[in-house]
């Protein structure tokens, strides 16, 4: 039996209460959401917080819905809830593509979107997906609420813009008319972390690419993004050649490291191949008209806490 070191436990009853607890217990305290990253680390004694502050009961962090052309995702939204939501699937198929291959149903029932981003594992799938769609993170601290573009949220492996004493409260993703997206991942086995994965969003305007968003994970891409490839695509007509070239550019600009999932050369190859595939699939979806349309949006819906 693997057992964590001793710790104290506090249950937060509201966001202000959670913030107050964080302040009271200081840097040796940790927020716990789904616990699917934190508890394994505690059992291996790689993490040894003195106090766990449980935010699982907080309704106000579980909101999932569309507000003013923005998809709003509370930090406590579970993977399973995110995956089951039809509005998410309609506007951002990239999230459903990704969620289908994140972990397994047991982990997805409990793990949260906010926990995934705050864990900031360099192989995290949602980080790449949110980077592709250029989301905004909303962070709340004792001083109030601030917004951070997702591409400035991650500061490095396991490091984010959320300071001690702060909480990630939600993510905001603008719905862009005419945009379509997709996510492609290679894993060694169902439920495994990615060997490499890529997400792409394309907004077409008059037959050319008005804006491309490309996310990459597990290949050492800074901020989980591929800005050089995005720039290359801007103004180009979508097509096999352009997508392949974008893949080549993305592959050349990432910095994968060898591990038991594969040698660096393979991961670099995958970065290119998966960017190409994600772009192709996103473009296919745009052509099929499954792109984000204005008008047909679902109303606000509360998720379960």
């Amino acid at each position: 039996m693997q057992v964590p070191a001793r710790f104290e436990y506090e249950r937060a009853s509201s966001v202000p209460h959670a913030l107050a607890l964080l302040e009271r217990y200081g840097p040796e305290s940790r927020v716990i959401a789904g616990g699917h990253s934190l508890i394994p680390m505690m059992k291996l004694r790689l993490a040894r917080p003195d106090v766990l502050i449980d935010i699982n009961g907080l309704e106000e962090l579980s909101f999932l819905g569309v507000e003013d052309d923005v998809l709003v995702i509370g930090a406590l939204v579970r993977h399973a809830q995110f995956l089951a939501d039809p509005a998410v699937g309609r506007y951002f198929p990239i999230f459903h593509d990704a969620e289908r291959v994140i972990a397994d149903p047991v982990v997805r029932n409990r793990g949260t979107v906010g926990g995934s981003l705050c864990q900031a594992d360099p192989s995290e799938d949602l980080s790449a997906a949110f980077a592709a769609v250029r989301a905004t993170a909303v962070i709340q601290g004792p001083g109030g609420v601030r917004e951070v573009p997702i591409r400035r949220f991650h500061r490095g492996p396991y490091e984010t813009a959320v300071e001690p004493g702060e909480l990630l409260v939600r993510l905001r993703v603008p719905i862009r008319p005419g945009a379509a997206s997709a996510y492609e991942k290679v894993e060694r086995r169902a439920g495994d972390w990615p060997v490499a994965a890529a997400g792409a969003q394309l907004r077409l305007d008059g037959g050319v690419i008005a804006e491309a968003g490309i996310g990459l994970t597990a290949v050492g891409a800074e901020h989980f993004a591929a800005p050089e490839a995005e720039e290359y695509l801007a103004g180009k007509a979508p097509g096999a050649e352009a997508f392949a070239e974008a893949g080549r550019i993305a592959a050349a600009n990432c910095a994968p490291r060898a591990d038991q999932r594969g040698p660096a050369a393979y991961k670099r190859h995958l970065a290119g191949e998966l960017v190409r595939r994600a772009l192709t699939r996103a473009a296919g979806r745009a052509a099929e008209g499954t792109a984000q349309g204005a008008g047909d949006r679902t109303g606000d819906r509360r998720g379960e806490g």
Partner: protein
């Protein structure tokens, strides 16, 4: 119904139909597809595993393990841990040395450190043992033990273990100057070499069967309870061989054997990893003796993966000599066997490379020779584990891979090439060039059935089309395996001097209900059902009326345990024979009841049950239940006939049994990512008579999943410092239903001529046979790229690297 009446027509399994081969249906008597008797408790969560054992006053142990692969221990300071509240005892190597228990014998005649005294020799090796009031305190106290290590250069790459100047791992053994353990050979070198010199075609291929781990869901553990008043030691642990454990404890610790009771309760999977004695068991026993209280120790997942018996780790070079038209003439093999830091493989004493000697497989080959060299490395000990039938897994993989390499060289169809070389049915019993006597088989029939089921020609046509028109790569892989299972005979096979024969006891109560006691121990094989079915078939009673007792040395006769697929071939045979003894005794009692001569009675089994009756007048008879009651009554019995209805036996198998099968795997490979998808898997198995076909199929399903795991994802590599890179289920991947196709099973039935019910073992067949089929399929898909071989596991990275011409070395860290 017994084997004598079994006919041997091939048919594809219809999983719901009557089992026509054995003539058995799902009747309450005899063989057939009945539900498992043990499932009721497992499905309801009422199993009783070691971790469920809770005794009054029980303490908890935890093991401190080495972070280094190779280091000298300068000092161990346990004083802070001893002073920690709740800690009852800290046991170190030094403590054990004082009791002469710091080292224990392994199953291969070597010794292994229980707790390290001089050096640590693999990462995860046991260094100290804490006994505390609860498991949390025990774990906390581990962090308070200070060990001063002087790191030494480790030997990680087995291929460098024999290099001049390589660090000597086993300097505990006097006079040891290197890491060489043994050389072993089989076959005729001269004859083989001579054929190679003249052969029209020869092929050679290096291949690694990587280190894998059985990874049972239940990890290892023990509860030891030493009673200071009675001097009796009771040990609960999930062992596959309770009686062997008891004898070993007696021999090593000097405790009188009748004062030792080993109980193996429900076991959550063994696969070979629970045959040996682990240091934790000994520590729990010493902890109980030291504290006078019961001590429980349960290892966690990482401990299980890092320190308990691994499997395989065979670096092989195979060569085949053949004619240009594809007749295989000779085969030779050189193996470098990585045995880890201690030689602890579990196999019959005379077989240091297990049964690898059957590497000529299912083919009629004139000459063969193999040599195996065992070496030490700074890795965990073990070696024969994971459903491998004592290294037949490696042997089958070698020969089946080589057949495909030859097919590649000759540009021949792998199915035709095999068909041409299979041992013909009329050649049985067949003596192989390395001296094994295959008992029975009809190989071409099994292969033909598998090819028909998979529609081989159609698939080859689809493949040709794909190769022409592009698209994902299609691969078709064949593996034909022959196993040798059910060790003894005791004359040739023993473990540490204990002959591999099994006892059985059968007692029929006055009302006709029976208790069978056997020495082997189920880890999921369903013995409580199949063995009851054997008794039921022999006595004409319902299997529900037969209780099977196993896993407790105080309640069962001596025997060597469950591994190497030996339960049905050995203990199952003992069961049939002890039931026949009881039936013969019943004949004498019935004769007294009927006032007839025993010779005039005949045995019959009908819907109503088994009965002895006077020949020709069936109505003039007595049921087995009536006979049982009479045997316990005041009925006067003839001179020499004891009352009651029971018998004992010890079964010493005259030969191994040789199950076989033909497997075909179909894969789609994405050349852009290297991902492999198993589209179909057809498995035709012949394990002789099937006692319970449902259980047989369950064993095959599990083994096929094992094969997918080993072939495609299981990776237990080590970096240059000896860090274990597969020490959790995040890194060591077990296959899931997502990676497994819907298995397509077929069967032929060729009874074993020497087993009392014609059965052969099946517990390992699919694990042995399937990896080669998967690997052959993937490599068949890659053939247009000129790829002839890549080692398991064929992860996406490895497949892609193979396509680039640089397959990955899977025993070392990926760089």
């Amino acid at each position: 119904m017994t084997a004598e009446t079994t006919d041997t027509t091939a048919n594809a399994t219809d999983t719901t139909a009557t089992d026509t081969e054995t003539g058995a249906t799902a009747t309450p008597m005899g063989f057939g597809r009945m539900h498992r008797k043990e499932d009721a408790r497992f499905i309801r969560g009422r199993g009783n595993y070691v971790d469920d054992v809770r005794l009054p006053g029980m303490l908890h142990g935890a093991i401190l393990r080495s972070p280094h692969a190779h280091a000298r221990i300068l000092s161990v300071d346990a004083s802070a841990a001893e002073a920690h509240p709740g800690v009852k005892a800290v046991i170190t190597g030094e403590t054990l040395a004082g009791m002469d228990l710091a080292w224990m014998p392994t199953l291969s005649g070597d010794v292994q450190a229980v707790l390290a005294t001089d050096k640590v020799r693999f990462q995860g090796q046991e260094v100290a043992f804490v006994v505390a009031e609860d498991p949390y305190t025990a774990r906390d106290a581990l962090e308070l033990i200070e060990v001063d290590y002087e790191p030494l250069e480790p030997v990680i790459d087995a291929r460098r273990a024999l290099d001049e100047g390589a660090p000597v791992i086993r300097d505990d053994v006097e006079g040891r100057t290197g890491n060489h353990i043994f050389d072993w050979e089989a076959g005729d070198r001269e004859q083989t070499d001579a054929i190679f010199e003249r052969a029209e075609v020869t092929v050679a291929q290096d291949m690694l069967y990587p280190r894998v781990h059985p990874a049972p869901l239940e990890t290892c553990g023990a509860v030891a309870d030493f009673d200071r008043v009675t001097g009796k030691l009771t040990v609960w642990c999930p062992t596959q061989a309770p009686h062997a454990h008891r004898t070993l404890y007696a021999l090593v610790a000097g405790l009188p054997e009748h004062k030792i009771r080993v109980i193996s309760p429900d076991v959550g999977g063994g696969f070979g990893g629970k045959v040996g004695i682990y240091p934790g068991y000994v520590c729990a026993i010493v902890g109980s003796i030291a504290t006078g209280r019961p001590v429980k120790w349960m290892e966690d997942r990482s401990e299980n993966l890092m320190s308990t018996a691994f499997a395989r780790d065979y670096h092989m070079r195979g060569e085949i000599a053949a004619t240009r038209d594809g007749k295989v003439l000779a085969i030779r093999v050189k193996v470098l066997a990585d045995h880890g830091a201690f030689n602890g493989t579990a196999q019959p004493t005379k077989f240091p490379a297990g049964f690898f000697g059957v590497f000529t497989g299912s083919y009629d080959i004139r000459a063969a020779h193999c040599e195996v060299t065992g070496v030490h490395t700074n890795k965990a000990p073990g070696g024969v584990a994971y459903a491998c039938s004592f290294r037949i897994t490696e042997a089958v993989y070698l020969v089946e891979r080589m057949m495909d390499v030859l097919a590649c060289e000759l540009d021949a169809d792998p199915a035709e090439l095999r068909m041409k070389n299979l041992i013909r049915p009329e050649r049985f019993p067949y003596t192989s060039p390395t001296g094994w006597e295959y008992d029975s088989g009809d190989y071409p029939r099994a292969l033909r059935l598998a090819l028909d089921m998979v529609e081989y020609d159609k698939l080859r046509a689809e493949q040709a089309e794909r190769r022409r028109d592009g698209g994902p790569l299609l691969g078709i892989g064949i593996s034909f395996f022959t196993e040798a299972v059910g060790a003894g005979p005791r004359k040739h096979m023993d473990i540490l001097g204990l002959g591999m024969a099994d006892g059985a006891e059968l007692r029929v109560h006055p009302t006709g209900k029976a208790v069978l006691r056997v020495s082997c121990q189920s880890q999921g094989q369903g013995h409580e059902t199949t063995f009851a079915q054997i008794v039921a078939a022999e006595l004409g009673v319902s299997p529900d009326d037969v209780e099977v007792v196993h896993g407790d040395t105080d309640q069962t006769p001596f025997g060597l345990g469950t591994y190497g697929s030996r339960s049905t071939p050995v203990s199952g045979a003992a069961t049939a024979i002890v039931a026949r003894k009881v039936r013969e005794r019943a004949r004498l009692v019935a004769a007294a009841m009927l006032e007839a001569s025993p010779d005039d009675l005949e045995w019959s089994v009908s819907e109503a049950g088994g009965r002895w009756s006077v020949q020709g007048s069936a109505e003039h008879g007595r049921t087995i239940q009536e006979i049982a009651m009479a045997a316990h009554s005041n009925l006067e019995l003839p001179e020499g006939v004891e009352g009651h209805l029971d018998a004992v036996t010890v079964y010493n198998p005259p030969n191994l049994t040789y199950p076989f099968g033909a497997y075909v795997c179909v894969v789609d490979v994405d050349p852009g990512t290297g991902q492999v998808k198993v589209r179909r898997f057809v498995a035709v198995d012949d394990c002789g008579v099937r006692i319970n076909p449902m259980i047989v199929e369950g064993q095959i399903h599990g083994g096929l999943a094992d094969g997918i795991g080993m072939a495609l994802m299981q990776l237990m590599a080590f970096d240059e410092d000896g860090n274990h890179l597969g020490a959790s289920f995040m890194d060591y991947l077990l296959p899931t239903s997502m990676e497994c196709p819907s298995w397509e099973l077929g069967e032929t039935v060729t009874p074993s001529p020497h087993h009392p019910v014609g059965a052969k073992g099946v517990g390992e067949s699919a694990t042995v046979g399937s990896p080669a089929a998967v690997v052959n399929a993937v490599l068949d898909a890659l053939r247009p790229y000129g790829v002839r071989h890549a080692d398991m596991p064929l992860t996406p990275a490895n497949v892609w690297s193979a396509l680039q011409g640089t397959p990955i070395r899977t025993d070392l860290a990926v760089t």
